[in-house]
Symmetry: none
Subunit: 528 residues, 2 copies
């Protein structure tokens, strides 16, 4: 529990509303892993899914109930809908499935916009309210804590406030202890939304929660504004995953509540885990982490402006809205066209290389980096190549694990339309000369395959190294296909990720340089 | 001009602050293309860069002044800093470079946080204010309109409001007509920021602008809140590009101002261009469009929730915060790519192809485009390829000027370190079979050279056609070097420019497809 106890709820719906994001498809195992990570962070509630409606969600709750999920902080929540119109609550199979899920908390979604009640649900306000009241009471009588998600609340309240308030009242009459105002279509802006939240609290005295979608790019801001207006329950998803533009991002909401409003909504030690947990949840969702995400993105504290670098070195707190360590993130200084001594010195420190005591070496490194960057190299996203460059300049690098004699790549678009890429490399490794040939989908793939084939028998660690990502940028002004090509390669060994860069007029050679640096970097970690 | 005229400024800083985003590196040609797109949208001001500080920016302004950039709506803005402490303003080379840029508007950045003045600038408040006043007055006397970016304003105002206000006063004394309050570190939240904006306006009566960074994930919300508090000048970047977590996204800010606050800040017909322009600007920045971006993302109106699908069909307005057509986006209920009948019909009209009378042909085109887009093709920035596709589907295309039999590309990294790229093509042109071989800097350059060598004797118009730009995007990041590659080729014949696209697992074949389309397109204009 946080120091705020039950008086403030951080409620996560990554597993239900977050799963609506296009491209996300959690397995039951994924769902269990997500729940464990969220629990480790100390959120108060984890909405696990809609049992009875989705088979995977039913299975998730069954496995949780069978002991596959032990939560330290959070309570598990089953999400579902009220009884159907004209059906007795204890005879509604969907409501029974909510009980069978055995979660201590149930969140019921209900219509709170008269137009939706009449046009989508095709019933009247009185029956809709009875559905809410009956279902809440039934679940409360069965020992469940019940929250109400008032769907389309803000649009409904603007259209017909009395109906929307009657729906909330019905839930509280039934025994619900939080009514969650949902901006389901995501059209709200903070100032107006805060007014409505304050108005509802003033009129009803109910405990109010907030659920925002990001269609105006204001989901986080709306959530914070609602809290400032009196809401004490925030529904979020990890990394803002969700339908359309997504939901309010858990990490930005928590970051703002703790560091800006001073509300200790998570256990004290959890804040420094935000970055790690965000990235782990992105991995499980199989979505590349958003590098520019507030608080947790790898660029969230990255400074490019060269003219500020010396000032940043002296007074980092003047240039960051919070200390990045607070949320487990790092400040990075990007080495760019405007790279100066100060930013390279800082960069060296980041990489564990002390350049302050070696002014001459620093001068050489600065000159080399500037020359390379004038030729199209860019180290701002290629820390591993920059590290190799620094070590080479300082003569701190071991012998490379292999050397190239030559390579040849042949691409055939044959008369029958078949396209074949084949590469041959001749390399020296472990005292031997090795020749290997391989095919690939394209020239770089073939070259990578041939190099691996040549080296694998001699470098045992090589089979752990994989290419994660491969980016190409043509640096042109008016040169068309004879321009310089910059290639970025991101590699992983299952534990770490590192990025290397290669630049050349020939795209294959640029790729080769980046591929080689990736392996040399790994070798320096294996031997060093 | 918009119906609001000069009373409300949409001020774009994609080319200056947006370029601080990690990974963005605009060429001068890119910058000109970005400015043209922003101007076509009808923004009021385009900040082009920092002349004198960055050579590419100096060149951009020189080319604009030489007539390479004709703006219909926008005024071009040069960004720079005040004179240095202790230096006469007319002897400060950086200030002179701002004049030399010949832009009608200059935005000066100045410190407005006492801690920054004393600790980073190492001067005192009085000299800082003199620097602001002198520089503004000098530029105003030279006929420039001057805006002041008050850096770190909100942090500074909270720490020592008098100093921050004195900086604003100095600018207005010098003749600045907008003072822009900058949340440089991005730590603000909407309710507090709106209070400060209202407070500053009440105390000074100055015309106030707003510049927000996204470090709390509130840049868009903060910008809107500032407008609600009285700001009449908003600084944004396309797609929120910018340092760290980025800036306020132009498209979300404009979408909110127009559709939520009813402020006609862009020409009426521009709103429906937001989605197209956003995607085109992402292409130029060589950054994959954010599928979940508010208003303009391909998922922004995509509904996954199965249970709502039929209701959505009946009453779409109940499930979307705005009509997606308003911003040129599409609602998608099933998983489909961007292309819909209406947008292709429109596109056809743009290209002079009437599809309204040929519903069956339109159905075929829609299907073909969807299939291609599912495989990674994108016609957003490749009008010429889309035109060829439409004409092919309608059987309106002449015989192609040449056909391929086969090609072969050989790349050698020789033992002496020399790298050679050689291509041989076998083509049929003007009834003859032609074989030609050429070298190039890389595989695509060699292939382009061999093709030209083969065709030039038979196609007299070929020597007017040049490659302007060549862009490569690797599409799937899970597979490393065996992913699908998309190539965009921009060509020119000295009068017109056109862009073609090619997609393949092999980068050379993808380039070949785009190169061929470029020539076929030109041939269709020569013969047709």
């Amino acid at each position: 529990m946080t120091t705020l106890g039950d008086s403030f709820h951080v409620y996560d719906t990554t597993l239900r509303d977050g799963a609506q994001r296009e491209g996300i498809s959690y397995s039951v195992t994924d769902k269990l892993a997500v729940a464990r990570l969220l629990d480790s962070l100390g959120v108060g509630f984890i909405e696990g899914g809609w049992p009875g409606a989705l088979p995977k969600d039913t299975e998730f709750f069954a496995r949780a109930a069978a002991g596959d999920l032990t939560l330290k902080h959070a309570q598990l929540v089953a999400f579902g809908s009220t009884r159907k119109a004209g059906v007795k609550v204890d005879e509604d199979p969907q409501v029974r499935a909510l009980l069978d899920a055995q979660a201590p908390v149930v969140t019921l979604v209900a219509k709170s916009d008269r137009r939706h009640i009449e046009r989508a649900l095709r019933t009247d306000v009185a029956e809709n309210c009875a559905m809410v009241r009956d279902t809440v009471r039934f679940l409360v009588d069965e020992g469940r804590r019940v929250f109400l998600d008032a769907e389309h609340f803000f649009d409904g309240f603007a259209f017909d406030p009395d109906t929307s308030l009657r729906v909330l009242e019905s839930a509280v009459e039934g025994g619900a202890d939080v009514v969650v105002l949902c901006d389901t279509n995501g059209g709200q802006l903070p100032l107006g939304l805060a007014e409505t939240v304050a108005d509802v609290i003033a009129r009803t005295g109910f405990r109010v929660g907030i659920h925002c979608q990001d269609d105006t790019s204001c989901a986080v801001a709306n959530t914070i504004a609602a809290v400032q207006a009196g809401a004490t329950h925030v529904q979020c998803t990890a990394n803002g995953y969700g339908e359309r533009a997504g939901n309010a991002d858990l990490f930005a909401v928590v970051g703002n509540l703790v560091t800006k409003l001073g509300l200790p909504v998570l256990p004290h030690e959890s804040l420094a885990e935000l970055t790690r947990v965000s990235h782990a949840l992105a991995e499980i969702a199989n979505i590349a982490p958003d590098t520019h995400q507030a608080y947790v993105g790898s660029s969230a504290f990255a400074h490019k402006a060269g003219l500020h670098a010396s000032a940043i070195k002296v007074d980092p707190e003047l240039y960051n809205h919070i200390d990045p360590d607070t949320v487990g993130n790092d400040m990075r200084v990007l080495v760019t066209e405007m790279a100066g001594r100060a930013s390279l010195e800082l960069k060296g420190r980041e990489l564990g290389i002390d350049l302050t005591r070696r002014p001459e070496a620093l001068t050489n490194v600065v000159r080399t980096v500037k020359e390379l960057e004038a030729g199209g190299w860019s180290f701002e996203a290629a820390d591993a190549s920059l590290e190799l460059l620094l070590k080479r300049e300082l003569s701190e690098l071991d012998e490379p694990p292999f050397t190239l004699e030559s390579y040849r790549v042949v691409l055939d678009h044959r008369q029958d339309g078949v396209i074949v890429s084949e590469a041959t490399v001749k390399v020296h490794v472990a005292g031997e000369r090795v020749i290997a040939t391989a095919e690939g989908n394209g020239p770089v793939h073939a070259l990578d395959a041939a190099l691996r084939k040549a080296l694998l028998p001699h470098l045992s660690w090589l089979d752990t190294v994989e290419l994660n990502d491969y980016k190409v940028r043509i640096l042109t002004d008016q040169h068309g296909t004879d321009a310089v090509t910059r290639v970025l390669v991101e590699s992983t060994d299952g534990e770490r990720e590192w990025t290397t860069v290669g630049v050349h007029g020939n795209i294959v050679e640029a790729s080769w340089l980046a591929l080689c640096d990736a392996l040399v970097h790994k070798a320096s970690r294996v031997t060093g």
